[in-house]
Subunit: 468 residues, 2 copies
Amino acid sequence: MEKDDFRKFGREFVEWLAEYMESIEKYPVNSPVKPGEIKAKLPSNPPAAGEPMDRIFRDFQDIILPGITHWQHPGWFAYFPANNSPASVLAELLTAGMGVQGMVWQTSPAAAELEEVVLGWLRRMLVLPEGWSGVIQDTASTATLCALLTARERATGHEANVRGLKVPLTVYASTETHSSVEKGVKIAGYGKENLRVVPADEKFAMVPGALEKAVREDIRAGFRPACAVATVGTTSSGAIDPLAPIGRICREHGLWLHVDAAYAGTAAILPEKRWILDGVEGADSFVFNPHKWMLTNFDCSAYFVKDAAALVRTFEVHPEYLKTGVDAVVKNYRDWGIQLGRRFRALKLWFVIRDYGVEGIRAMVREHIRLARLFEGWLHGHPKFELLAPVDLSLVCFRLNDGRPEEALNTLNKELLARVNASGKIFLTHTTLKGKFTIRLVVAGRTTAERHVREAWDIIRSEAERLL
Amino acid sequence: MEKDDFRKFGREFVEWLAEYMESIEKYPVNSPVKPGEIKAKLPSNPPAAGEPMDRIFRDFQDIILPGITHWQHPGWFAYFPANNSPASVLAELLTAGMGVQGMVWQTSPAAAELEEVVLGWLRRMLVLPEGWSGVIQDTASTATLCALLTARERATGHEANVRGLKVPLTVYASTETHSSVEKGVKIAGYGKENLRVVPADEKFAMVPGALEKAVREDIRAGFRPACAVATVGTTSSGAIDPLAPIGRICREHGLWLHVDAAYAGTAAILPEKRWILDGVEGADSFVFNPHKWMLTNFDCSAYFVKDAAALVRTFEVHPEYLKTGVDAVVKNYRDWGIQLGRRFRALKLWFVIRDYGVEGIRAMVREHIRLARLFEGWLHGHPKFELLAPVDLSLVCFRLNDGRPEEALNTLNKELLARVNASGKIFLTHTTLKGKFTIRLVVAGRTTAERHVREAWDIIRSEAERLL
């Protein structure tokens, strides 16, 4: 690039992004390309000589853009969203430009201290206990793995780190727990067969009595129960495990309690929804993702622990080349997780919270919940739609049900989902609940407004009526 | 933010960054703030109402910037650099703005397919074996952990994932190996006491004979040797472990060989330096960091494996809510590592390689190596400086040595380093080599030119002469 090209293309990209944000509805939400289609348009060898930026940018628009699935489209109702915001994007631009690597305090004091301050803000916003410490992780998968590892070390008196895992430790999670728990259990060396899958009730929440029974049976059988993972807002249905009774069981038997509130955690900033975290003070660790429902660019998971020393003791290593003169008095976040290198992610959180203010974020979350309720009402009012889980927040689980046999219903709803997504105007995904193919609609896009939810309902209803 | 504020502040931030890049030398490389200084300037509560962006941006400049250690400063000679480039920053802007989450192919086909293509480009640039598969990881720590986990599964016939680690597995690395190996060994449940630290030779490279001896002794003692980690470009001294004999030993005894070339890997794009990877074809996995010496914003580690199926088998989980109709024919990178969620990091690599071209990147790397040699020559020409390791690439290890006792020399060099860094014009860090306090100077900043290395030498020499 020439000297002033950064200015030129920087302005051009900003303008392009502004237009992209304004006109995103003209794109199909879900990319319609076929597997291999993008790859076929790209040379398999790198260029020997540099190419002009306008050609690269043109190729980005011509080749890459058609293969993008537009997560920021207001018709995005799939998975859990990863909403962002102009303030967050602007902060990411500064972060990228400064190119700071915040592995230790010394390598950018502001990155370390802003992280501490902003995680304190989040702690207050969610009314988590005073005294808990926060750290940014990339994803909830990583945070949950950190919890499983810290639990492993606590259960073995920090012996597993040294001698490997010699005692058979067990972990507990419900049937509805996210797959990252199974992944973390395997990575941490517990072994999948030592993950106890605790039954859920009719609302898909963990049954505390079943947890207690499983723990007691394991103790009798010679296992050492180490960790339970409770979920606030499960991926399939948004179910909320009852933290208070689960916490009491964990304390009684010495288990580490980790709470995964990846999606739902943000809702706890609403006083009227703070009940979803009732009992969280009995937990040892907690994660939620500002990158899901708090307007902050992916990736940014907020991980909180009651006992920061246990976390640090699990991960710390002290090679000479990383020692600094201030190690005794600062937080070196390299010891708070798996990676050594760390991006300056606190900046975007700081920008977002200040740009919106707590009330601004609350207003967005309230509106999303209202829209989900609205959609729920339309489902109730239609004779052929069935709600499959309670709607506590902004996730609605439903299916078309005209009374045909279960297996045929699954086929019917699979077809319905395919047709709905083929519209290109909205994108929803599925799960199974009690063996039933379930369509999920999550309202959490920054620009998702009532008209988009109405349009979703129109598309779903008309495709359904065409199918019946 | 108001409707057109993204445009307004986007342009303003681009202009600010352009000026930052041009005038970065006016800042002290290493932030001079004291612990707690930044924190004290930030409110401990989040604002209830949103604030105007110009106030946020002003606070960024007034409060945050003084606490930034400027990794992109041409006087950065510390740790290993994390160099970036205008093209990479521009790509990060697009990535942030689109807000794509690439956990599976369907959630952005272009992200998955561009990653495959660009990692193919890197494979060719480094002349890695055809048939190896690449995936972007956040950091080398994570990639090395992936290698340790895949090795664990291979050594146990994929039993550890299921039943936990029952057999005592051992891991091998040299005295000079990066601390991420110890961290990974602990996380993966091997136990630190099962990490065998293999001696290094006088050039700090692993001694293959010592590795073989350790492996044989462990087998006799009933251990199952699972993995060896060889390093190309160690953190302390840039030493290069001999991959060919290490690979032969690993193959003979069925060990997984992982190669950590985090910093040095980039140099293999030079035909005259490709020898550093001689024997890499005998490895099972390989990582290097485009975010260190290849102009790509942190984070971006390129991880390559010979047997992608073994990697995927280690990490895959298949919850219903992540299944898509094309899973059988596409690469779902969620199964290639620890995290589920993934940023669209291939874009910045694509921008950088096309913007510079392979020859452009080569020219930068060659120049850095030339400058390190130049500095080495000045050290040689001075009676009181001592070189402490061979200079194969762009890392120079040295100390001041006027013949006083070893312990006093350590104190002397510690003081020298402190004074040099206090200049604010350059930033170097230290290590220990054979018990000697060692000053490290790495040339790898994008804008680091001969005059900066000369200035570094002037500062170091004059501070040294003042000290003696």
